[in-house]
Each structure stands twice: as C-alpha cells, then as structure tokens.
C-alpha cells in the first residue's frame, strides 16, 4: 500500500505539490490526470524514488522510496515518458537487466513483444520511438512487480498499439499489482483505469473509484440540453453532459468530460468526493 502524507515538493520558488495526502490501495490501476505542469511526473518520480520529498512523507510497504534499497526497487518499475536508446538487442537487454527483478519472466517478455508486433532481435538504438516504447512496456510488465509507475505510456504509440497496450495491461498484470498511469490521452485508457486521480496546481481535485464517480455524477449522452449540467459539450456523435446524479441512475463515465467538469467546478467536486 502506498501512503502519501502531507507531501510537498517544489522546484526552487515554484511549489508543485503542496500538502498532498492520499492512499493508493493494492491491486488497482490508478489513472493520474492533470493539466500540464501540475506535477504528475513529479509525483511519479517521488513515488519511485527518483526524487526526494521536500515536506511530508511517502511510505510504500514501509519503505522510503528515495533510499532506493534493492529490496524496494525489486518490487517496483518506473517507466518514464522518455526512454533510452541502448546499443543492444531488445532480447539481450531483457535478459541482461531482467534478472535483477526476482519475478522477471523472459517468456512473458517475448510474448508481450509479439503482442506488440515488435521483434526482440532488433537493436534498441535502431527502433522507432514507438517500437522502443513498446519494448520498455513489455519489459516493465515482464518484471511482474507489485508497483508499476507509468508516465504517459501511450505517447508515441500508434492506434493499434494503444489497443495492444490496453490488452497487455489487463491481461499481463497480476491482480495484486498496483499500477499508476499518468496520461493526457484519457481516451486511450478510459476503460482500464479505476480509480481516477485528478491533480490540480498543488492540490488533488479528485481521487475516486469509477463506482464512486458514477454514483455521484451522471454522464448523459442524450441530445436534450439540461441547464443544470456541470459540463456540456457537443461531440460529432451527439452531446455529452455531466450533472449531479441525484436520481442515482447508472451511466458510463466519459473521462474527458469528467476532467473538464472537475476543472469547471473544483470546489463543488472536492466537497462532493471528500472522504
């Protein structure tokens, strides 16, 4: 379990995260959303130990991530937005580095490379950005870690690869794994992320499961415009409106509309989902 307590972080004078408190439970795929510069990547790098907190604390199963102890690192994998070109074949890379994660499965790596239609015998420094990203995603999932932090994993992936990514995340991760995915491309991951965390400047606007969200908000796809809508948008396929679910009706969440509704009514949403 990940416990974040009064977390604060700043780059010089610029405060990025301020007094953030939340708990990430085991076995869930968290979607971390937010505008540019609100601190999504910073939060991920703090969680995996690439940065140290300025105030507050992060506790992951009793570990302080910044100590970067092997026993902690062996239980987590961080896939950054930018991936390194290495002068090795993908297969060689996986065989050389995978052995440091005690649950790494080379067979799974080759299977995932095949799912992504990537050839493991290719040299990584000759791959396109998308191919390289898919190689690292395959490696990350093959490590079978308890915690997986992914920063914009679908960036640079073509349309079929995004579908393959969703398939890989749902099929190749164990039930007790906690996955935190930061993304701008919410439609790519709409059906797999639950709970959803929306970060704002120095604040958390929303941290709720899909069930909690659909319990409190209604996503209306009908063409009838309602004045009480928190957010409405005309789409090529019709309308999408978000309003309070006072009648407790069931609806399918539209993450983009949710994001916009949350940003348009920050205080209301915060009070609505306050735990």
């Amino acid at each position: 379990m990940i416990k974040i307590n009064n977390l604060g972080f700043n780059y010089g004078e610029k405060v990025v995260l301020n007094n953030i408190t939340m708990t990430l439970k085991d076995g869930r795929i968290y979607g971390l959303l937010g505008e540019n510069g609100v601190g999504k990547t910073t939060l991920l790098t703090l969680l995996c130990g690439l940065k140290n907190v300025k105030t507050g604390s992060i506790d992951i199963d009793g570990y302080n991530p910044y100590k970067r102890l092997p026993s902690f690192l062996a239980n987590q994998f961080y896939l950054s937005d930018e991936v390194a070109e290495v002068n090795m074949t993908a297969s060689d890379y996986a065989a050389s580095y995978g052995k440091f994660w005690h649950k790494f499965d080379i067979g799974k790596f080759h299977e995932l490379m095949s799912v992504f239609e990537n050839d493991p015998s290719w040299k990584m420094n000759r791959m396109s950005f998308g191919q390289l990203k898919k190689t690292y995603i395959s490696f990350a999932l093959s490590c079978n870690t308890k915690y997986l932090f992914m920063d914009e994993p679908t960036n640079g992936l073509d349309i079929p690869s995004k579908a393959q990514f969703r398939k890989a995340i749902t099929r190749y991760t164990s039930e007790d794994s906690t996955i935190l995915i930061s993304t701008h491309q919410v439609r790519d991951l709409e059906n797999i992320i639950d709970p959803i965390i929306i970060l704002d400047k120095q604040d958390v606007l929303l941290d709720a499961t899909v069930e909690e969200i659909s319990d409190k908000l209604f996503f209306d796809y009908s063409s009838e415009r309602k004045p009480e809508a928190l957010y409405s948008e005309m789409t090529p396929g019709g309308n999408i409106q978000v309003y309070l679910n006072s009648e407790k009706k069931e609806s399918k969440i539209n993450t983009e509309a949710l994001f916009n509704a949350v940003h348009a009514h920050k205080d209301l949403i915060k009070s609505l989902f306050r735990k």
Binding site: L50, P70, Y78, N87, D92, Y97, K99, W101
Partner: protein
C-alpha cells in the same frame, strides 16, 4: 534481500555493467586499442609514398601514440560508460535497477579504473609486440623498451636518496592513473553537458588555486638550496608520501562519487 552488498547479485551486475559499457563505448575503445596499428599502417604507407621504402613507426612515435591513446581512454571512458546517469532517459534506468549503491559503485570503479585500462594495456602492448615481431623496421616492442628507462636512473641517482628505482617503475604510477580516471568519472557524474571540457576546466581552476596556495611553501624550500631539499624528510620519503597523497585523493574522489550517485535526482 540484502540491501547493502550481495556477492551473487554483484557478480551478475558486474557482468551486465561490462556488457552495457561495451555497448556504449565498444567501438571507440576498439579504435583506441587499434590506434597503434593504424599509425603503423599510416607510417608504412607514407614511407612508401615518399620513396623511403618499407618503414614502420619508430619507438619514439609509438611511445607518443601509446601515451596519447591512454590519455584519450582516461578522459573518454568514464563519460561514455557512465555519463548517461545524469541524463533523465538512461539515468533513471540505472538508478532504478534493483542493485545496491555500493555494488553499483564498486562495479563502476572496477570497470573504469581496472578492467578497461588493463584490457587496453594488454591488447595495445600485445598488438605492438606482434607488429614489432613481424616488422623489424619498428625497433623493439614497447614492453621490452621499458628497461631503457633505466637511463633515467643515472640522473636521478645523482640527486641521492635512492629514489631512482621507484621513479622508473611504471607500476608506481598506477595510483596516479586511477586518480586521473576518477576525476573524469566524477566530472561525468557531476556535469550534465560538456562533461570532459568542464572537468578539464575545473582541473585547471583547481591547479591555479593550489598553485597559489603551495607556491609560498615551495619557495620557502628553495631558500634553503637543493642540498637542504634532497636531505629533507620529505625528499627521502617522496614516494611513500606521494603514494599516501594519491590514495588520499582516491579516497576523497570515491566519497564524492558515492555522494553524487546517491543523491542524483531525475
């Protein structure tokens, strides 16, 4: 899981690190090793073009090339093998590999300070030996010419204190060589861009500052004349003091490298 040091894990990591270092530096390393052969070939070609017949590179030229090659190796190897650590893309992978910082550092030290220089010296002198065996116009191999350094002994023996034997022993300079590599390794880990040039500039700045500090002390010695200097405790124990100071510098550099790698953030 042992979070401090695990020999089995270290062994695995060292092999992976060597592989990764060769992936990053292999072609350059091979070129440096083959520089003697390349210069030999160029010398022969020039000699033939100029109508001087078949003539390989002489001993002096081969010593100069060997020294320059080793210097290039010392300067480039740390930044090419480990400079990536400061970059966000590759550095994160290095930091996030589940191996302890002590294992990573020892591996880094062994590869840059022992393994790569040793492979270079063996391969370079081996190739030089084979060239000299095959082509007598080159003169004697570098390795066997080391004994010619004995001529230096006479001059040094005049100074007394029996330092000559140590001064001409190449093994005596291993600690200096390691210090040099560690300086460039620290530079590779501290500077984001221009790792080599910034390290050289820092060394120049450091030399100027230490020159300002130590010149009065040296002048103080000079006042007493050379005899006073050669009879001094410092001179009589010059090599012990030099070794101690080199080891101290080495320890300081290792500590700085340790704290730098431990506190790198991305």
């Amino acid at each position: 899981m042992n979070d401090i040091f695990n020999f089995k894990r270290f062994g695995k990591y060292l092999l992976t690190d060597i592989k990764s270092c060769f992936a990053a530096y292999g072609i350059s390393f091979l070129t440096i090793i083959l520089s003697g052969l390349i210069i030999y070939a160029v010398s022969v070609i020039y000699s033939l073009i100029l109508g001087n017949g078949w003539h390989g590179s002489g001993l002096v030229l081969r010593w100069i090339i060997a020294t320059i090659s080793f210097l290039v190796l010392t300067i480039t190897c740390p930044s090419r093998c480990y400079g990536r650590i400061t970059e966000k893309r590759a550095g994160s992978s290095w930091l996030m590999t589940p191996v302890s910082i002590y294992e990573k550092l020892l591996s880094m030290f062994l590869i840059t300070c022992i393994f790569i220089p040793a492979v270079f010296l063996l391969a370079y002198s081996g190739i030089d030996f084979l060239i000299c065996m095959a082509d007598t116009t080159c003169g004697e191999p570098l390795v066997s010419s080391l004994r010619d350094l004995e001529f230096l002994k006479d001059g040094l023996d005049e100074l007394g204190a029996g330092i000559a034997g140590k001064a001409v022993n190449p093994l005596h300079y291993i600690d200096d060589m390691i210090d040099g590599i560690l300086v460039f390794l620290l530079g590779a880990l501290v500077f984001g861009k221009g790792k080599i040039s910034k390290t050289i500039l820092s060394m120049i700045a450091f030399s100027i500052i230490s020159g300002i500090v130590f010149t009065p002390i040296a002048l103080n010695f000079a006042e007493y004349g050379p005899a006073m200097f050669t009879d001094s405790f410092l001179f009589r124990n010059l090599f012990i003091i030099d070794t101690i100071s080199d080891i101290t510098v080495m320890a300081v550099l290792i500590v700085l490298i340790f704290f730098r790698t431990k506190t790198i953030k991305h």
